[in-house]
Structures are given as structure tokens and as C-alpha cells.
């Protein structure tokens, strides 16, 4: 039946929409056909969705030094504009002028010196040999991926529901505010997961299952299983962790199905800075310990809200690094429209957060311990040159993210840079990859690597486990000479990955960053859209596509026999505070007894989460 007919309606705004309830039994092939039909009709349209104003050059003023020019979108009307990136007062700024909405200036990178250092580590990707959409529009109104895109995906995001059991005041994504329910069937999910796997030369291998709140889906474990069947070797679930605080079995099932790690929101160590899941996190961590499922904490950092707690978040991660694998910090992306004065209260960039961590850790984690994401591309390039097989390479724009590794020993924090000459090693590997690509004898190159690798390592300064028997050197030999990556587990043992990813918004938007994005969303119509198009221009990407493949709330309630409102989470703070895990997890990070119960309740309620006794 479905093979004969597609159930597509066209709404007044000419946006097509599927009667999704008729697709509950549809096959992968049905979705293939439906997606092919809808994809061109969901693409952004010149004149309707955006305009081009490329002849308007943004001005520069006294005391401003231009760095480069780029393209950027207007925050008011999505028009594509020329923008200038420039230096002023030791910082990097972006300015653009929309003929309809005037001049827009925004902080781009909070420290010029760090901008220059990070820029020196830029490595671009080599693009994709096949893409999902033809080139029909300027970037970023052609996302899908288009033939211009410079990076292959390092991580695919799959939205499995827009339902959420919270109603955070800043979020417009969840079902009851959106007015529809987006929840693809398992066959539809299988169709979506297959699209990024088709990319060549490097198909996607890492997946993040996200929402809404993915743990609200009763078949989440099946989704993890399908992802593994489709060839994703790394699967992570992005969650608030709230359901996992009360459902230890779910953690075990997710782990057994092949989930590698959880990505859990964690905005601070106190109830004031983390009203989303402050009280539940200790219980979630305990359940994850029992399941052997690691977690990465994901704080969103806002200047006047929790920037001054970012160091404590790192200490929290170190305190629990038996189960916390990393902290991946996200400087805020300003969604919606906001006047400049308001933005200045919120805006932080990667250097601002890095320098705050340096301050809070009293220099133990310094600004020079951090490297931009594309700095590690020479490692992939070297291994690729040796093996002759394509490898995942992280080739985002240098302003998109940064990372480092730290260990803690006897109360001292040891960043990786204390015992590895990271700059020297990366440069060396890049040179060796060059030699291999130019046809130099592999064995001569290997011999050179074997002889010189030790000069980049000072084992005496490494954490004890890596220091003993010069384990760190043996480990590097295994990776770079024998290509035995199983030993990487040894490197990660007891370490804490610190990452930073600054997703864009329409104020600091830079097309050069979009083109290099390697964190993509797979869409219900099979497109693969860079994160900063999917979420930064949501009306043209995320919302339009998801709405087209959605149920009405009424229809969903009729089909499932459940009420959306009944799924909302209500918090029993008194009970959570009384449990032993609460004190054990936060002890030493803030004065637990100084916060009255009423303050806890107020923090939760202000955030939008009701409290029950």
C-alpha cells in the first residue's frame, strides 16, 4: 500500500507535511522514497527564507585591525552578509551590516593571542566524495551535506524524540512548546542511520542519540542496537540523566546494547547553577557505576550565571573520574533574538572559559595546555598514510573547539602537556605523514619514528601509572608503530578528558566554521546537516524537517493512550537531599549545609521543575 502512495499534505505556507500516523508500518524502502520526494521541498528558498546582500562591506574603525573577511547570516532575517573579523583591545570581533537591520557586532574569540596560536594548528578536511544534496544555494542554505563541505562527520546526532520531561525556561524545542511530536519509527531511524554511513571515503562511525529526552522512548535500547547493526562503533546517549537516577536497569540495558558513554548535562555543582539535575546526578552516577557505563559531563557556560563555577565542575569530574570520563564544556550559544547589552551579560567564548579554568585551578590547568580540535589531524593523517585506509580526522575550524587531558595525583593536576611535547609530536607526525604521502620508504619512516618518539616524552613527569616502566613510551610505540589501539585504554585510565565546543549563534555566525563542521544531524529526509545550521537556523532546518515528519499531539496521545502532560517530571527534593549519595558526591565542593531547603525548592521551581513532598 505504502509503495503505491505517499501521504503528503501541503500546508498553507507551502511546507509539505506527512501524515505520520500512516507510516507506522512503513519500511526502510518506503522512507527512502518518501524522503527523496520531500527533501527538495524542504530546502531553504532564496527570496522566501533568506536574501543575499553580498555587496555591503562592513566598516572598520580606528584602532581595529582586520584579520579576515567571511560570510555570515543576519540574526533578524537570515540574509547572507559579508562580515569582517578583526582585532580590537586584544580580542577578536565579528561585524556585519544588514541593509534591513543595521550593523551587528559580536565578540568572536576572547583572546587574540590564543586565536593566533589556535590558527597555527588549523588543518582542513578533504571533503566528501559523495554528498546527500546537489549544490543549489550558497552556504549555509544548502546544507545536507553539499559538495562544498570540507569535513566528513566525526559525530552524527540523531534526534529520536522532541518529547522532554522538563520544561526549561530557555528551550523552545520540546514537544508541548513546538506543538507537535517528532518521534521517528525504528524503521525510519534505520533509514536515517544508513545515510551518513554511505559517505565516502570516510563514513560516519560515531553516533549521539539525542532529543528531547531520549530516555523517554521505551525502545531506546532497540535504537542503540540498530545503531550498532548499522556499523556505528561509538554510540553515546545525550541525556539529563534524570530517568537513569531512578532506573538502574536502564543503565545496564543501555550498556549491554552497546552504549559507549552517556553525555549528561551538568551546568554547575550547586542547586543555583544547576537546577536542571543537581539533585539527581549523584544517583545517576551511582547507577552508571553499577552498570559500568561511563559519562561525560556537559556544562553550558553563561558569563553571569556559571562561568565562575567552571573550575569546580572540573574538580567534580576529577573527584568522580572512576566513572566520569570527561567534561565537555559548551560556551553558551545565544538562541533567539537578544539586544547587545543583554548578550554581553551572557557571552563567553573559548578563551574566556579556558582562562577562568586557569584562574580557578591556580594555574594547574593553564591556557597553554589546551589545543584546538583540528590540532590532532596530523595523528589521523599519519595513521592513514601508514595504513593506506581513510581514518576519521577532526578538521573543524580552530575556533570551534579545544581540548586537553588531565590526571590527578596526590591532589596535583597533571595536564598531558607536562610530560608530552604536544607541539613537537604533532609537527613530527605531520612531517612523517608528508614523507609517506610523497612515497618515502615506510620502513625508513618507521625507523625514524622509533628512534625519535622518545624525545617528545618526559616519562618522569607523567602520572604514576604511565611513569612506571615507561609505560607511556611503550604505549606510544604500540599506537604509532604497531597500530595497536587497544593500548589507548591504558592512556585514558584515570585521565579526564577536558573538551570545549562553542556552537555558533546568529550573532557570531561564520560560514567558514559551518563549512568545516564535523558534528552533524541526520534529518528525517535523509539530509545530514551541520550542527550550526540545524540549531542556529532552526526554522529552516530542524523545525521545518521535524514538523514535516511529525504527529499532532492529539494524534500521538490517541495512538499511545498517554497524555503528554503526565510525563512531566516532578522532583522530590527532600528525599534526594536525604540520600547518602547526595552528600558523598558534593562533599568538599560547596558548603552543603549552608543552603536552606527553601532555596533548593526555589531554584528548582524557578527553572520550571515542580517540587513534590
Amino acid at each position: 500500500m505504502l509503495r503505491e502512495k505517499l501521504f503528503i499534505e501541503v500546508e498553507s505556507g507551502e511546507e509539505p507535511r506527512v501524515d505520520y500516523s500512516k507510516y507506522l508500518d512503513a519500511t526502510v524502502e518506503d522512507f527512502e522514497r518518501l524522503a527523496a520526494e520531500l527533501r527538495p521541498r524542504l530546502m531553504p528558498r532564496l527570496g522566501k527564507d533568506y536574501k543575499l546582500y553580498l555587496s555591503h562591506m562592513p566598516p572598520l574603525r580606528d584602532g581595529e585591525k582586520p584579520i579576515t573577511y567571511t560570510l555570515s547570516a543576519c540574526p533578524e532575517c537570515n540574509s547572507l552578509l559579508k562580515a569582517v573579523i578583526f582585532k580590537r583591545d586584544g580580542k577578536v570581533w565579528i561585524r556585519k551590516v544588514c541593509p534591513e537591520h543595521g550593523e551587528i557586532e559580536e565578540l568572536y574569540f576572547g583572546d587574540y593571542e590564543m586565536y593566533e596560536r589556535f590558527r597555527s594548528h588549523q588543518h582542513d578536511g578533504r571533503g566528501n566524495l559523495n554528498t546527500h544534496v546537489p549544490l543549489m544555494a550558497p552556504c549555509p542554505y544548502n546544507c545536507g551535506l553539499c559538495p562544498r563541505h570540507k569535513s566528513h562527520p566525526a559525530l552524527i546526532n540523531l534526534v529520536v524524540t522532541n518529547r522532554c520531561d522538563l520544561s526549561c525556561f530557555y528551550c523552545f524545542f520540546f514537544a508541548s512548546r513546538a506543538g507537535y511530536i517528532y518521534e521517528p519509527t525504528l524503521e525510519h531511524i534505520r533509514y536515517m542511520l544508513r545515510q551518513p554511513r554511505k559517505l565516502r571515503p570516510q563514513p560516519a562511525i560515531a553516533l549521539q542519540i539525542t532529543g528531547g529526552e531520549p530516555t523517554l522512548r521505551e525502545d531506546l535500547v532497540d535504537i542503540v542496537r540498530i545503531a550498532k547493526e548499522e556499523g556505528y562503533t561509538h554510540v553515546q546517549v545525550n541525556t539529563t540523566g534524570i530517568r537513569l537516577a531512578f532506573d538502574p536497569e536502564l543503565a545496564v540495558k543501555l550498556r549491554k546494547a552497546g552504549t559507549n558513554v552517556l553525555y549528561m548535562s551538568f551546568d554547575g555543582v550547586t542547586p543555583y547553577t544547576n537546577p536542571k539535575n543537581h539533585w539527581e546526578v549523584p544517583y545517576t552516577l551511582d547507577n552508571l557505576r553499577k552498570a559500568g557505563l561511563g559519562v561525560v559531563l556537559v556544562p553550558t557556560i553563561i558569563k553571569n550565571y556559571n562561568l565562575n563555577e567552571v573550575g569546580k565542575i572540573v574538580y567534580f569530574g576529577l573527584k568522580h573520574n572512576d566513572i566520569v570520563r570527561g567534561v565537555n564544556i559548551q560556551p553558551v550559544s545565544i538562541t533567539g533574538r537578544m539586544p547587545r547589552k543583554e548578550r554581553e551579560k551572557e557571552r563567553v567564548t573559548i578563551p574566556d572559559v579556558i582562562m577562568e579554568i586557569e584562574r580557578e585551578t591556580e594555574g594547574q590547568i593553564s591556557r597553554y595546555d589546551w589545543y584546538p580540535v583540528p590540532s590532532v589531524a596530523p595523528i589521523s593523517r599519519f595513521i592513514e598514510a601508514v595504513t593506506g585506509e581513510p581514518k576519521v580526522a577532526f578538521t573543524t575550524h580552530f575556533a570551534c573547539g579545544a581540548a586537553t587531558y588531565v590526571w590527578q595525583e596526590n591532589g596535583e593536576i597533571i595536564p598531558v602537556t607536562r610530560f608530552i611535547d604536544v607541539d613537537g609530536l604533532l609537527k613530527f607526525l605531520d612531517e612523517k605523514a608528508d614523507e609517506l604521502e610523497r612515497g618515502r620508504n615506510r620502513y625508513i619512516v618507521f625507523l625514524d619514528v622509533l628512534l625519535k618518539l622518545r624525545k617528545f616524552v618526559d616519562a618522569s613527569r607523567a602520572p604514576k601509572r604511565l611513569r612506571e616502566g615507561k609505560r607511556i613510551l611503550r604505549l606510544l610505540y604500540k599506537v604509532f608503530i604497531k597500530h595497536d589501539y587497544s593500548s589507548l585504554g591504558d592512556f585514558h585510565y584515570n585521565s579526564l578528558f577536558l573538551g570545549m565546543m562553542h556552537f555558533q549563534d546568529l550573532y557570531n555566525h561564520d560560514v567558514a566554521r559551518v563549512m568545516r563542521c564535523d558534528i552533524h544531524y541526520v534529518m528525517p529526509d535523509g539530509r545530514e546537516v551541520p550542527f550550526c545550521s540545524f540549531n542556529v537556523i532552526p526554522d529552516l532546518y530542524r523545525d521545518r524537517a521535524q514538523k514535516a515528519f511529525s504527529y499532532t499531539i492529539k494524534e500521538w496521545e490517541r495512538l499511545t493512550g498517554r497524555k503528554l502532560i503526565d510525563l512531566k517530571y516532578k522532583r522530590n527534593i527532600r528525599k534526594l537531599l536525604a540520600g547518602e549519595p547526595y552528600r558523598r558526591h558534593y562533599e568538599g565542593l560547596f558548603d552543603i549545609d549552608s543552603i536552606p531547603y527553601e532555596d533548593h525548592v526555589l531554584a528548582s521551581k524557578r527553572f520550571g521543575i515542580p517540587v513534590i513532598e
Binding site: L54, L71, K82, Q122, P138, P201, F398, A399, R516
Partner: protein
């Protein structure tokens, strides 16, 4: 039909060093022969941006946004030809990678790309020449001679 091609030079440092020159030569093919199409140059306008991206996004991973990041010069070249399969030969000199050579694009009668090389993933030149000659139905020797005449390296 109208034929459009681009020749350009770009030099940038942000976000990464790029120092690249590309010149394009276009040939009409059919009946076993190749005929170079005479093109007339003009300045680039806003209406050319998409065509530029389409031409150099999948070949050199370069787009208009890369050009405006630094200093660039560009010539848009246009000409007329009756409907026929076309061969575009790109001669490039990448001074950052220390690489120069030749890429091909075969365009069908309807304007669709039938075959295109990518600078990062291309096979040896002779293999590619054999392939485009086969696709166009012209003797391999003709393509080889033209590449030599243009000064393409790698023969």
C-alpha cells in the same frame, strides 16, 4: 548553450594558509574529436558565486567564502557552444602543498557532471585520461596531447 568557466588565484592565511592558482580550459567533443571553445573573460558578479562553488567545491574544496578570506583575482569566462559533451581541464598550482597538476570534469549534454576529479583523491593522470577519453568517445591520444600542450604536469 552558454558555457561558463573560471580562472582564479587565491592567497589566504585564515583559517589556514591557501595559495592556489587554477586555470580552466573547455572543449567541445563529439564524433571522436575535441575542439577548444573560445571563451571571453569578464569580472565576477554576485550571480556567478554559485557557479564558482559548484565548479570548485567538489574539485579543490574551494568556495567563494575561501576567496574573500584573503587576496584573490578571478576571471569569469563565457562562450557559446551547441549541445555536446564537454571536457573541462583544470590546471592547478597549489603552492602550499607544493603540488601542481591537472583535474578533469566531463559535462553531459544537459549540463550535468558525468565525471569529476578531486584534488585529494585522484588516480594517476594516465588512468584518468583514459577514463575521460572513454566517456567522451575520443582517442586517448587527443586528451594527452592537449594536456601536454597546456603544460600539464604528470604525463
Amino acid at each position: 548553450m552558454t558555457i561558463k568557466a573560471f580562472s582564479f588565484t587565491v592567497r589566504t592565511n585564515d583559517p589556514r594558509p591557501l595559495d592556489l592558482s587554477v586555470s580552466t580550459h573547455v572543449y567541445k567533443t563529439g564524433g571522436g574529436v575535441m575542439e577548444r571553445i573560445a571563451l571571453v573573460g569578464r569580472e565576477m558578479g554576485e550571480e556567478d558565486i554559485l557557479d564558482f562553488d559548484a565548479e570548485f567545491g567538489d574539485t579543490f574544496n574551494v568556495s567563494y567564502n575561501d576567496l574573500i578570506h584573503g587576496e584573490y583575482s578571478i576571471t569569469v569566462m563565457e562562450g557559446e557552444a551547441s549541445a555536446a559533451p564537454l571536457l573541462k581541464i583544470y590546471l592547478y598550482d597549489d603552492r602550499v602543498r607544493g603540488d601542481s597538476g591537472v583535474l578533469f570534469r566531463v559535462v553531459g549534454e544537459g549540463g550535468e557532471t558525468i565525471y569529476v576529479d578531486n584534488v585529494y583523491f585522484s588516480s594517476p593522470l594516465r588512468t584518468r585520461i583514459a577514463r575521460v577519453a572513454r566517456l567522451l568517445g575520443v582517442p586517448q591520444r587527443l586528451v594527452e596531447e592537449e594536456v601536454k600542450r597546456l603544460g600539464g604536469r604528470g604525463m
